[in-house]
């Protein structure tokens, strides 16, 4: 599904190498987790994959189902099936949540040569999906993320994911700022989307989220590289001993 080979990235504005050769392969139907200390490059990886400005790829490749992601505009990557649940979902005053989602959904469909969804069908679908995530009608009507609590913003990210039905989902610290109940709700939302045809890359600091969204594979990232890969037990090891032992071991 997602193939990353030797991906090297520096900041565009300054001479600072952030990713120093990332190798990662996420298969369809699997959940991969990336853990790592602050500044290891986890969020940069998510931004580079989705095409945010400000980064320069200096080497390597990233493909989604064989298609070169790095060559595409962000909207093309989305239409190809890539989705990033943001660590800090953006507030957009003046743009209604529903308008935003319907525009996004239909733009993706259009670019894939599919028929646009009617207003009626869209409304039916979003109501059903919002209900599962305990998102009320008022939240749907409000401007995108404006006045939403931290938990509401993250739920809104998952709602977008559920509506857009991407092939490859990247969750960037979706657990940050969530209380226990909200984490459960968000995790249930993600688990409901787990599917044979869909890959997940879950970026997190903590094991806690992985209790709810159980990963198949866990990677440890440090200093711009994947330094260790293992099963779910690796996350437990981090939780118990921190990163120091692992980093010392691979150094």
């Amino acid at each position: 599904m997602l193939e990353i080979k030797g991906l090297a990235v520096k900041l565009e504005e300054e001479d600072k190498q952030i990713l120093k050769g990332v190798d990662l392969s996420v298969e369809a139907g699997k959940v991969h987790a990336i853990m790592g200390p602050n500044g290891s490059g986890k969020s940069t990886l998510s931004y580079v994959l989705t095409g945010r400005d400000g980064y320069e790829v200096t080497g390597g490749s990233a493909t989604l189902e064989g298609e070169d992601l790095l060559d595409m505009d962000p909207e093309e990557r989305a239409a190809a099936g890539l989705f990033l649940a943001f660590q800090y979902p953006v507030e957009i005053p003046g743009v209604g949540n529903m308008t935003f989602l319907r525009t996004a959904l239909n733009a993706q469909r259009k670019s894939r040569g599919e028929e646009e969804m009617s207003a009626g069908d869209f409304l039916k679908l979003i109501r059903a999906k919002a209900k599962d995530l305990k998102i009320d009608a008022d939240m749907l009507k409000r401007p995108v993320n404006v006045g939403f609590s931290g938990g509401e913003k993250k739920r809104n990210e998952i709602l977008q994911m559920a509506m857009l039905e991407p092939k490859m989902c990247i969750l960037d610290e979706t657990d940050s700022g969530l209380d226990v109940d909200a984490m459960k709700l968000v995790s249930e939302g993600v688990n409901a989307l787990r599917d044979e045809g869909r890959g997940f890359l879950v970026i997190t600091h903590y094991q806690r989220l992985l209790d709810h969204i159980q990963p198949d594979v866990v990677h440890i990232m440090a200093d711009g590289r994947i330094v260790k890969t293992g099963g779910p037990e690796l996350a437990l090891e981090v939780e118990k001993n921190g990163y120091a032992d692992i980093l010392a071991e691979v150094a």
């Binding site: 989705t50 095409g51 945010r52 400005d53 505009d73 962000p74 909207e75 990557r77 989305a78 239409a79 989705f83 990033l84 943001f86 979902p89 953006v90 957009i92 005053p93 003046g94 743009v95 308008t99 935003f100 989602l101 525009t103 996004a104 959904l105 733009a107 993706q108 670019s111 401007p143 995108v144 977008q160 857009l164």
Partner: protein
Amino acid sequence: MAAPAVKQDATEARIAGLAMPDGAGWAQDARKAALARVREMGLPTRRDEYWRYTDPASLVQASAPRAAIFDDRDEPPVFGDIDKLNIVFVDGVFDADRSDPLDMAGLEIERLSDATATDIHWAKDLYGVRETAGQDPVARPLAALNTAFASDGIVIRATGKAEKPVCFIYLHRDETSDAILHHLVKVEPEAELTILEVGPAAARFNKCMEIDVADTGAFHHVRAQGRDHERRAATHMFARVGAESLYKSFTLTANGVMTRNEHVIEIVGDNASAHVAGAALGDGRNASFHHDDTVFITHDALNGESRQVYKKVLRNGAEGVFQGKILVKEGAQKTDGYQISQSLLLDDDSSFQAKPELEIYADDVACSHGSTTGAIDETALFYLRSRGVPTDIATDLLVIAFLAEAIDEIESEALREDIIARLMHWLERRRQG
């Protein structure tokens, strides 16, 4: 003090082509007085303090520069779905055949030329009166010119709650038409009236509306200026706002090589509100675009509230200007005045100039003003694109979001939605080239 010779010459050249209408009735004296004022002030030049950012030459010159007629036949008209009383002007001339009968419960409504032939006290007390008052401290000679030479107009008195809006539809059919219209509006106590205006009116349009909102009256105004790229307009709204009353005005401007919209509002009664707002979309791609909002709000009563909300989206060399003043007179305590003017520049070629002014002679007031110029929010743009929204559509969504604070000043939900729908449609058309 007489105007300098060069100004006098330009003024006489303009006046030479104009004639006061026959049978001006009771308005005759006001027209003559206005002409005397025009001659004394002289028509504006770039050297005048309030014309430093906008060149008035094309608004002043003897004849109207040619303006091609915009073909909007395949577009849903602005206010098309709104139930309203339509009053149609073609190149500045009232067209009875295309208009609805001038008759509605709660309203007295007449053509200006008919009104001047009869003894209507309230209209006589308004024609040229608000305009004259509005000449101090800032001269507005184009408005005085209008009072002197207006060739048509409508006179409306609301005595109750009007059952539907009155809509002036200004059609432009002649590429060199030069229209001067003057409307009078009186809103009596407890009465409520909504005036809509739509269309370019002419190649060059000089419009003046004098409004008197009596105590406890409510006046709403929503306007969409025509989309003809080469059209020019100088408009003035002069209002007197009484106690416990409401004055609200919103203008949408898309296209127009030259637009100057002035608002002169005096709050004379306690606990009154005046809100003026504008959303302008300027694109210099097909013709140059210059849009100037000049607002002067005077608080001369207790507990008054005023808002000025102006937003401009500019690209391809478009120019935006905002000059806004809040004057709080001595004794106008507890005044709450707010003013914001913002521009969103979509490229480096476009420009925005703002001149906010506060002049306050009362010590217990809350007045604030702000002005910003910025580019599109890259973070928001990326967020939208990451969900699959193409850059051009994402930009347009952010444009509408940027304009929202101004559009939200429209009180009626139906009118607000109509304006947003038209705006989205125009943006979509633009995307398609």
